[in-house]
Protein backbone atom coordinates (compact mmCIF):
# COMPACT_ATOMS: atom_id res chain seq x y z
CA UNK A 1 0.00 0.00 0.00
CA UNK A 2 2.81 2.30 0.90
CA UNK A 3 4.45 1.53 -2.44
CA UNK A 4 1.23 2.26 -4.33
CA UNK A 5 0.95 5.68 -2.69
CA UNK A 6 4.56 6.31 -3.57
CA UNK A 7 4.15 5.72 -7.31
CA UNK A 8 0.61 7.08 -7.58
CA UNK A 9 1.60 10.75 -8.16
CA UNK A 10 3.68 9.87 -11.22
CA UNK A 11 0.90 7.64 -12.58
CA UNK A 12 -1.65 10.40 -12.06
CA UNK A 13 0.50 12.93 -13.84
CA UNK A 14 0.84 10.38 -16.68
CA UNK A 15 -2.93 9.97 -16.69
CA UNK A 16 -3.16 13.77 -17.04
CA UNK A 17 -1.24 13.56 -20.32
CA UNK A 18 -3.47 10.66 -21.46
CA UNK A 19 -6.58 12.72 -20.71
CA UNK A 20 -5.24 15.81 -22.48
CA UNK A 21 -4.48 13.85 -25.64
CA UNK A 22 -7.88 12.18 -25.35
CA UNK A 23 -9.89 15.39 -24.95
CA UNK A 24 -8.09 17.52 -27.52
CA UNK A 25 -8.19 14.71 -30.08
CA UNK A 26 -11.96 14.49 -29.70
CA UNK A 27 -12.36 18.26 -29.86
CA UNK A 28 -10.37 18.31 -33.11
CA UNK A 29 -11.33 15.10 -34.83
CA UNK A 30 -15.11 15.04 -34.35
CA UNK A 31 -15.80 18.30 -36.22
CA UNK A 32 -13.10 17.51 -38.79
CA UNK A 33 -14.59 14.05 -39.34
CA UNK A 34 -18.02 15.59 -39.84
CA UNK A 35 -16.75 18.04 -42.47
CA UNK A 36 -14.84 15.24 -44.23
CA UNK A 37 -17.94 13.04 -44.28
CA UNK A 38 -19.91 15.82 -45.98
CA UNK A 39 -17.13 15.88 -48.58
CA UNK A 40 -17.36 12.10 -48.95
CA UNK A 41 -21.04 12.50 -49.84
CA UNK A 42 -20.31 15.42 -52.16
CA UNK A 43 -21.31 15.30 -55.81
CA UNK A 44 -18.00 16.93 -56.69
CA UNK A 45 -16.03 13.76 -57.42
CA UNK A 46 -12.42 15.06 -57.14
CA UNK A 47 -13.16 16.16 -53.57
CA UNK A 48 -14.57 12.74 -52.77
CA UNK A 49 -11.52 11.01 -54.29
CA UNK A 50 -9.17 13.21 -52.32
CA UNK A 51 -10.91 12.44 -49.03
CA UNK A 52 -11.16 8.74 -49.95
CA UNK A 53 -7.40 8.76 -50.43
CA UNK A 54 -6.89 10.52 -47.11
CA UNK A 55 -9.11 8.03 -45.29
CA UNK A 56 -7.32 5.12 -46.96
CA UNK A 57 -3.93 6.54 -45.92
CA UNK A 58 -4.97 7.17 -42.31
CA UNK A 59 -6.76 3.88 -41.79
CA UNK A 60 -4.28 1.91 -43.85
CA UNK A 61 -1.15 2.67 -41.83
CA UNK A 62 -0.49 2.14 -38.12
CA UNK A 63 -1.09 5.15 -35.91
CA UNK A 64 2.33 4.42 -34.39
CA UNK A 65 3.94 4.95 -37.78
CA UNK A 66 1.96 8.15 -38.32
CA UNK A 67 3.23 9.52 -35.00
CA UNK A 68 6.81 8.76 -36.02
CA UNK A 69 6.35 10.36 -39.45
CA UNK A 70 4.82 13.53 -37.98
CA UNK A 71 7.48 13.98 -35.31
CA UNK A 72 10.62 12.66 -37.01
CA UNK A 73 9.67 12.76 -40.71
CA UNK A 74 8.01 16.12 -41.24
CA UNK A 75 11.02 18.12 -39.92
CA UNK A 76 12.93 16.75 -42.93
CA UNK A 77 10.68 18.87 -45.15
CA UNK A 78 10.80 21.80 -42.77
CA UNK A 79 7.66 21.21 -40.71
CA UNK A 80 8.65 20.99 -37.07
CA UNK A 81 6.23 20.19 -34.26
CA UNK A 82 6.84 20.03 -30.52
CA UNK A 83 6.28 16.51 -29.17
CA UNK A 84 2.85 17.29 -27.72
CA UNK A 85 1.64 19.17 -30.82
CA UNK A 86 2.95 16.39 -33.05
CA UNK A 87 0.99 13.83 -31.05
CA UNK A 88 -2.24 15.86 -31.25
CA UNK A 89 -1.72 16.49 -34.97
CA UNK A 90 -1.30 12.78 -35.73
CA UNK A 91 -4.16 11.70 -33.46
CA UNK A 92 -6.62 14.26 -34.82
CA UNK A 93 -5.83 13.38 -38.45
CA UNK A 94 -6.07 9.66 -37.71
CA UNK A 95 -9.31 9.75 -35.73
CA UNK A 96 -10.96 12.21 -38.12
CA UNK A 97 -10.59 9.56 -40.83
CA UNK A 98 -12.41 6.96 -38.73
CA UNK A 99 -15.10 9.44 -37.70
CA UNK A 100 -15.54 10.53 -41.33
CA UNK A 101 -16.34 6.94 -42.29
CA UNK A 102 -18.75 6.54 -39.37
CA UNK A 103 -20.53 9.82 -40.21
CA UNK A 104 -20.64 8.90 -43.89
CA UNK A 105 -22.63 5.80 -42.97
CA UNK A 106 -24.92 7.91 -40.79
CA UNK A 107 -25.47 10.49 -43.52
CA UNK A 108 -26.35 7.81 -46.04
CA UNK A 109 -28.97 6.36 -43.74
CA UNK A 110 -30.94 9.63 -43.81
CA UNK A 111 -33.79 9.12 -46.24
CA UNK A 112 -33.77 11.26 -49.37
CA UNK A 113 -37.33 12.26 -48.49
CA UNK A 114 -35.97 14.27 -45.57
CA UNK A 115 -33.84 16.38 -47.94
CA UNK A 116 -36.77 16.82 -50.34
CA UNK A 117 -39.07 17.72 -47.52
CA UNK A 118 -36.58 20.38 -46.39
CA UNK A 119 -36.17 21.56 -49.98
CA UNK A 120 -39.88 22.17 -50.58
CA UNK A 121 -39.95 24.07 -47.29
CA UNK A 122 -37.21 26.21 -48.89
CA UNK A 123 -34.54 25.50 -46.29
CA UNK A 124 -31.04 26.11 -47.63
CA UNK A 125 -28.44 23.33 -47.87
CA UNK A 126 -26.71 24.39 -44.64
CA UNK A 127 -29.98 24.90 -42.78
CA UNK A 128 -30.97 21.38 -43.84
CA UNK A 129 -27.63 19.91 -42.75
CA UNK A 130 -27.66 21.74 -39.43
CA UNK A 131 -31.30 21.40 -38.40
CA UNK A 132 -32.47 18.21 -40.10
CA UNK A 133 -29.52 16.00 -40.98
CA UNK A 134 -26.94 16.37 -38.20
CA UNK A 135 -29.36 15.88 -35.29
CA UNK A 136 -30.54 12.62 -36.85
CA UNK A 137 -27.03 11.47 -37.80
CA UNK A 138 -25.73 12.09 -34.28
CA UNK A 139 -28.25 9.69 -32.82
CA UNK A 140 -27.52 7.03 -35.43
CA UNK A 141 -23.72 7.15 -35.09
CA UNK A 142 -23.47 7.45 -31.30
CA UNK A 143 -22.78 3.75 -30.59
CA UNK A 144 -20.04 3.56 -33.24
CA UNK A 145 -18.51 6.86 -32.17
CA UNK A 146 -18.55 5.58 -28.59
CA UNK A 147 -16.52 2.58 -29.68
CA UNK A 148 -13.84 4.81 -31.20
CA UNK A 149 -13.84 7.07 -28.15
CA UNK A 150 -13.08 4.11 -25.89
CA UNK A 151 -10.37 3.00 -28.33
CA UNK A 152 -8.84 6.44 -28.21
CA UNK A 153 -8.26 6.28 -24.44
CA UNK A 154 -6.03 3.25 -24.95
CA UNK A 155 -4.54 4.35 -28.28
CA UNK A 156 -3.24 7.47 -26.56
CA UNK A 157 -0.58 5.22 -24.96
CA UNK A 158 1.18 5.17 -28.35
CA UNK A 159 2.58 8.65 -27.69
CA UNK A 160 5.46 7.00 -25.79
CA UNK A 161 7.10 6.47 -29.19
CA UNK A 162 7.83 10.17 -29.54
CA UNK A 163 8.91 10.51 -25.92
CA UNK A 164 5.77 11.83 -24.26
CA UNK A 165 5.08 10.69 -20.72
CA UNK A 166 1.58 9.28 -20.56
CA UNK A 167 -0.06 6.86 -18.14
CA UNK A 168 1.32 3.63 -19.59
CA UNK A 169 4.81 5.04 -19.84
CA UNK A 170 4.71 6.17 -16.21
CA UNK A 171 3.81 2.61 -15.24
CA UNK A 172 6.53 1.18 -17.46
CA UNK A 173 9.16 3.40 -15.92
CA UNK A 174 8.19 2.38 -12.38
CA UNK A 175 8.05 -1.30 -13.33
CA UNK A 176 11.50 -1.24 -14.89
CA UNK A 177 12.99 0.68 -11.96
CA UNK A 178 11.45 -1.31 -9.10
CA UNK A 179 11.24 -4.71 -10.85
CA UNK A 180 7.60 -5.29 -9.95
CA UNK A 181 4.39 -5.59 -11.96
CA UNK A 182 2.38 -3.59 -9.43
CA UNK A 183 2.66 -0.24 -11.29
CA UNK A 184 1.44 -1.81 -14.53
CA UNK A 185 -1.46 -3.49 -12.75
CA UNK A 186 -2.32 -0.12 -11.29
CA UNK A 187 -2.13 1.40 -14.77
CA UNK A 188 -4.64 -1.21 -15.92
CA UNK A 189 -6.98 -0.23 -13.10
CA UNK A 190 -6.72 3.46 -14.00
CA UNK A 191 -7.49 2.72 -17.68
CA UNK A 192 -10.50 0.71 -16.54
CA UNK A 193 -11.70 3.62 -14.40
CA UNK A 194 -11.28 6.04 -17.33
CA UNK A 195 -13.27 3.78 -19.68
CA UNK A 196 -15.93 3.24 -17.01
CA UNK A 197 -16.45 6.99 -16.69
CA UNK A 198 -16.45 7.41 -20.48
CA UNK A 199 -18.92 4.58 -20.95
CA UNK A 200 -21.18 6.16 -18.35
CA UNK A 201 -21.04 9.53 -20.12
CA UNK A 202 -21.71 7.90 -23.51
CA UNK A 203 -24.75 6.08 -22.09
CA UNK A 204 -26.07 9.36 -20.73
CA UNK A 205 -25.66 11.00 -24.13
CA UNK A 206 -27.44 8.11 -25.84
CA UNK A 207 -30.22 8.37 -23.30
CA UNK A 208 -30.49 12.08 -23.96
CA UNK A 209 -31.22 11.31 -27.62
CA UNK A 210 -33.79 8.63 -26.87
CA UNK A 211 -36.65 11.14 -26.75
CA UNK A 212 -37.48 10.38 -30.38
CA UNK A 213 -37.45 7.28 -32.54
Amino acid sequence: MHYILEILPSLISGAGMTLQIFLWTLVGSLPLGLVLSLGLNSKFKPLKWLIDFYVWLMRGTPLLLQLIVVFYGLPLIGIVFERYEAALFAFILNYAAYFAEIFRGGLQSIDNGQYESARVLRLSYWQTIRKIVIPQVVKIVLPSVGNEVINLIKDSSLVYVIGLGDLLRAGNVATARDVTLVPLMLVGVIYLLLTAVTTFVLRRVEKHYSYWK
Binding site: G113, Q114, E116, S117, R119, R122, L123, W212, K213
Partner: protein
Protein backbone atom coordinates in the same frame (compact mmCIF):
# COMPACT_ATOMS: atom_id res chain seq x y z
CA UNK B 1 -53.79 30.33 -61.44
CA UNK B 2 -51.10 27.88 -62.45
CA UNK B 3 -50.67 26.98 -66.09
CA UNK B 4 -48.47 24.22 -67.46
CA UNK B 5 -47.61 24.67 -71.11
CA UNK B 6 -46.07 21.90 -73.24
CA UNK B 7 -44.33 20.38 -70.25
CA UNK B 8 -41.93 17.59 -71.21
CA UNK B 9 -39.93 15.47 -68.83
CA UNK B 10 -37.61 12.62 -69.67
CA UNK B 11 -35.06 10.55 -67.81
CA UNK B 12 -32.25 9.76 -70.22
CA UNK B 13 -34.00 8.71 -73.44
CA UNK B 14 -37.19 7.67 -71.62
CA UNK B 15 -39.86 10.32 -72.08
CA UNK B 16 -42.24 10.26 -69.12
CA UNK B 17 -44.30 13.37 -69.85
CA UNK B 18 -44.75 14.77 -73.33
CA UNK B 19 -46.20 18.19 -74.25
CA UNK B 20 -48.56 18.32 -71.30
CA UNK B 21 -50.93 21.25 -70.95
CA UNK B 22 -53.09 21.82 -67.91
CA UNK B 23 -54.46 24.72 -65.93
CA UNK B 24 -55.15 24.82 -62.20
CA UNK B 25 -57.60 27.56 -61.32
CA UNK B 26 -57.41 29.44 -58.04
CA UNK B 27 -59.34 27.77 -55.26
CA UNK B 28 -59.99 24.63 -57.26
CA UNK B 29 -58.80 21.08 -56.93
CA UNK B 30 -57.06 19.27 -59.76
CA UNK B 31 -56.77 15.51 -59.46
CA UNK B 32 -54.05 13.80 -61.41
CA UNK B 33 -55.01 10.17 -61.97
CA UNK B 34 -53.62 7.27 -63.93
CA UNK B 35 -52.10 3.83 -63.53
CA UNK B 36 -48.83 3.42 -61.71
CA UNK B 37 -45.86 4.14 -63.91
CA UNK B 38 -47.80 6.73 -65.89
CA UNK B 39 -45.75 9.60 -64.49
CA UNK B 40 -48.22 11.10 -62.00
CA UNK B 41 -45.65 11.48 -59.30
CA UNK B 42 -43.01 12.66 -61.76
CA UNK B 43 -45.39 15.38 -62.91
CA UNK B 44 -46.02 16.41 -59.32
CA UNK B 45 -42.27 16.44 -58.65
CA UNK B 46 -41.84 18.80 -61.63
CA UNK B 47 -44.58 21.11 -60.36
CA UNK B 48 -43.08 21.17 -56.87
CA UNK B 49 -39.57 21.83 -58.16
CA UNK B 50 -38.03 18.52 -57.13
CA UNK B 51 -37.33 17.64 -60.78
CA UNK B 52 -36.31 19.91 -63.59
CA UNK B 53 -38.47 19.76 -66.72
CA UNK B 54 -36.84 19.26 -70.13
CA UNK B 55 -39.22 21.54 -71.97
CA UNK B 56 -42.26 23.74 -71.67
CA UNK B 57 -43.07 26.41 -69.15
CA UNK B 58 -45.00 27.16 -66.00
CA UNK B 59 -47.03 30.34 -65.59
CA UNK B 60 -48.33 31.65 -62.28
CA UNK B 61 -51.01 34.30 -62.87
CA UNK B 62 -49.59 34.71 -66.36
CA UNK B 63 -46.01 35.24 -65.17
CA UNK B 64 -43.30 32.72 -66.10
CA UNK B 65 -42.18 30.70 -63.11
CA UNK B 66 -39.62 27.93 -62.75
CA UNK B 67 -40.38 25.81 -59.69
CA UNK B 68 -36.95 24.14 -59.90
CA UNK B 69 -34.94 27.34 -59.49
CA UNK B 70 -37.49 29.57 -57.76
CA UNK B 71 -36.13 31.00 -54.54
CA UNK B 72 -38.60 33.77 -53.87
CA UNK B 73 -40.98 33.27 -51.01
CA UNK B 74 -43.96 34.15 -53.16
CA UNK B 75 -45.40 31.59 -55.54
CA UNK B 76 -44.69 28.92 -53.00
CA UNK B 77 -45.91 25.43 -53.68
CA UNK B 78 -46.49 23.28 -50.61
CA UNK B 79 -46.12 19.53 -50.66
CA UNK B 80 -47.60 16.73 -48.57
CA UNK B 81 -45.52 13.65 -49.31
CA UNK B 82 -46.86 10.14 -49.55
CA UNK B 83 -44.92 9.16 -46.42
CA UNK B 84 -45.33 12.66 -44.93
CA UNK B 85 -41.58 12.98 -44.28
CA UNK B 86 -42.00 14.70 -40.95
CA UNK B 87 -38.75 15.44 -39.15
CA UNK B 88 -38.59 12.66 -36.54
CA UNK B 89 -36.35 14.54 -34.09
CA UNK B 90 -38.62 17.57 -33.86
CA UNK B 91 -41.94 17.97 -32.07
CA UNK B 92 -45.10 18.63 -34.05
CA UNK B 93 -44.75 22.33 -33.17
CA UNK B 94 -41.08 22.44 -34.20
CA UNK B 95 -41.85 20.61 -37.45
CA UNK B 96 -44.31 23.35 -38.34
CA UNK B 97 -42.37 26.40 -37.14
CA UNK B 98 -38.89 25.45 -38.41
CA UNK B 99 -39.27 26.78 -41.96
CA UNK B 100 -41.34 29.87 -41.10
CA UNK B 101 -38.71 31.00 -38.57
CA UNK B 102 -35.64 30.05 -40.63
CA UNK B 103 -36.85 30.90 -44.13
CA UNK B 104 -39.57 33.53 -43.70
CA UNK B 105 -37.75 34.98 -40.65
CA UNK B 106 -40.93 35.05 -38.59
CA UNK B 107 -40.45 35.50 -34.87
CA UNK B 108 -40.79 32.34 -32.82
CA UNK B 109 -43.91 33.69 -31.10
CA UNK B 110 -45.63 34.57 -34.39
CA UNK B 111 -44.72 31.26 -35.97
CA UNK B 112 -46.00 29.34 -32.95
CA UNK B 113 -49.24 31.29 -32.84
CA UNK B 114 -49.84 30.52 -36.53
CA UNK B 115 -48.90 26.89 -36.01
CA UNK B 116 -51.26 26.53 -33.06
CA UNK B 117 -54.11 27.95 -35.16
CA UNK B 118 -53.34 25.47 -37.92
CA UNK B 119 -53.19 22.61 -35.43
CA UNK B 120 -56.51 23.62 -33.88
CA UNK B 121 -58.04 23.88 -37.33
CA UNK B 122 -56.83 20.34 -38.11
CA UNK B 123 -57.96 18.89 -34.75
CA UNK B 124 -54.41 18.45 -33.53
CA UNK B 125 -54.48 21.18 -30.90
CA UNK B 126 -53.34 18.83 -28.11
CA UNK B 127 -50.49 17.25 -30.05
CA UNK B 128 -48.11 20.18 -30.39
CA UNK B 129 -45.50 18.74 -28.03
CA UNK B 130 -45.55 15.18 -29.33
CA UNK B 131 -43.00 13.64 -31.63
CA UNK B 132 -43.96 12.13 -34.99
CA UNK B 133 -43.46 8.54 -33.77
CA UNK B 134 -46.21 9.12 -31.21
CA UNK B 135 -48.80 9.98 -33.88
CA UNK B 136 -51.09 7.83 -36.02
CA UNK B 137 -50.82 7.91 -39.80
CA UNK B 138 -53.77 10.26 -40.18
CA UNK B 139 -52.34 12.61 -37.55
CA UNK B 140 -48.94 12.61 -39.26
CA UNK B 141 -50.61 13.55 -42.50
CA UNK B 142 -52.39 16.47 -40.88
CA UNK B 143 -49.12 17.65 -39.33
CA UNK B 144 -47.56 17.47 -42.80
CA UNK B 145 -50.43 19.58 -44.12
CA UNK B 146 -50.03 22.10 -41.29
CA UNK B 147 -46.29 22.25 -41.93
CA UNK B 148 -46.88 23.00 -45.61
CA UNK B 149 -49.63 25.55 -44.88
CA UNK B 150 -47.41 27.42 -42.41
CA UNK B 151 -45.32 28.54 -45.40
CA UNK B 152 -48.47 30.16 -46.82
CA UNK B 153 -48.37 28.36 -50.15
CA UNK B 154 -50.38 29.44 -53.17
CA UNK B 155 -50.89 25.82 -54.09
CA UNK B 156 -50.84 22.70 -51.94
CA UNK B 157 -49.87 19.39 -53.58
CA UNK B 158 -50.47 15.86 -52.30
CA UNK B 159 -48.77 12.71 -53.49
CA UNK B 160 -51.10 9.74 -52.99
CA UNK B 161 -52.74 11.11 -49.81
CA UNK B 162 -54.80 7.97 -49.22
CA UNK B 163 -52.20 5.28 -49.86
CA UNK B 164 -50.40 5.30 -46.52
CA UNK B 165 -53.63 5.35 -44.51
CA UNK B 166 -56.35 2.86 -43.57
CA UNK B 167 -59.00 2.66 -46.29
CA UNK B 168 -61.67 3.86 -43.86
CA UNK B 169 -59.75 7.13 -43.45
CA UNK B 170 -60.40 8.02 -47.08
CA UNK B 171 -63.54 10.01 -46.26
CA UNK B 172 -61.60 11.88 -43.60
CA UNK B 173 -59.00 12.92 -46.15
CA UNK B 174 -61.78 13.95 -48.57
CA UNK B 175 -63.37 16.12 -45.89
CA UNK B 176 -60.02 17.62 -45.01
CA UNK B 177 -59.15 18.52 -48.60
CA UNK B 178 -62.64 19.89 -49.30
CA UNK B 179 -62.43 21.85 -46.03
CA UNK B 180 -59.20 23.50 -47.20
CA UNK B 181 -60.87 24.22 -50.53
CA UNK B 182 -63.65 26.01 -48.64
CA UNK B 183 -60.89 28.13 -47.10
CA UNK B 184 -59.80 29.05 -50.62
CA UNK B 185 -56.75 26.80 -51.01
CA UNK B 186 -55.76 25.70 -54.50
CA UNK B 187 -54.84 22.02 -54.47
CA UNK B 188 -53.32 19.39 -56.72
CA UNK B 189 -53.87 15.78 -55.73
CA UNK B 190 -52.05 12.85 -57.29
CA UNK B 191 -53.89 9.58 -56.70
CA UNK B 192 -54.52 6.20 -58.28
CA UNK B 193 -57.89 6.03 -56.50
CA UNK B 194 -60.49 7.14 -59.07
CA UNK B 195 -63.46 7.31 -56.69
CA UNK B 196 -61.50 9.46 -54.28
CA UNK B 197 -60.34 11.67 -57.14
CA UNK B 198 -63.88 12.15 -58.45
CA UNK B 199 -65.20 13.00 -54.98
CA UNK B 200 -62.83 15.90 -54.52
CA UNK B 201 -61.87 17.17 -57.97
CA UNK B 202 -63.10 20.17 -59.91
CA UNK B 203 -60.90 19.01 -62.73
CA UNK B 204 -59.23 15.72 -63.57
CA UNK B 205 -56.09 15.08 -65.50
CA UNK B 206 -55.66 11.53 -66.78
CA UNK B 207 -52.11 10.57 -67.49
CA UNK B 208 -51.30 7.40 -69.40
CA UNK B 209 -47.96 5.65 -69.73
CA UNK B 210 -46.18 7.13 -72.72
CA UNK B 211 -46.94 4.88 -75.68
CA UNK B 212 -43.93 6.07 -77.64
CA UNK B 213 -41.55 3.86 -75.63
Amino acid sequence: MLELKNITKSFGDRTIIKDLNVTVKDGEILSIVGPSGAGKTTLLRCITGLEQVNGGEFLVDGQPFDPYTNTSNDSVIGVVFQNFELFPHLTVMQNITLAPTMVLKESKADAEATAQKLLDRLNLGDHADQYPYQLSGGQKQRVAIARALAMRPNILCYDEPTSALDPNLRQEVEKLILGLKADGMTQIVVTHDLTFAKNIADDMLHVEPNQAD
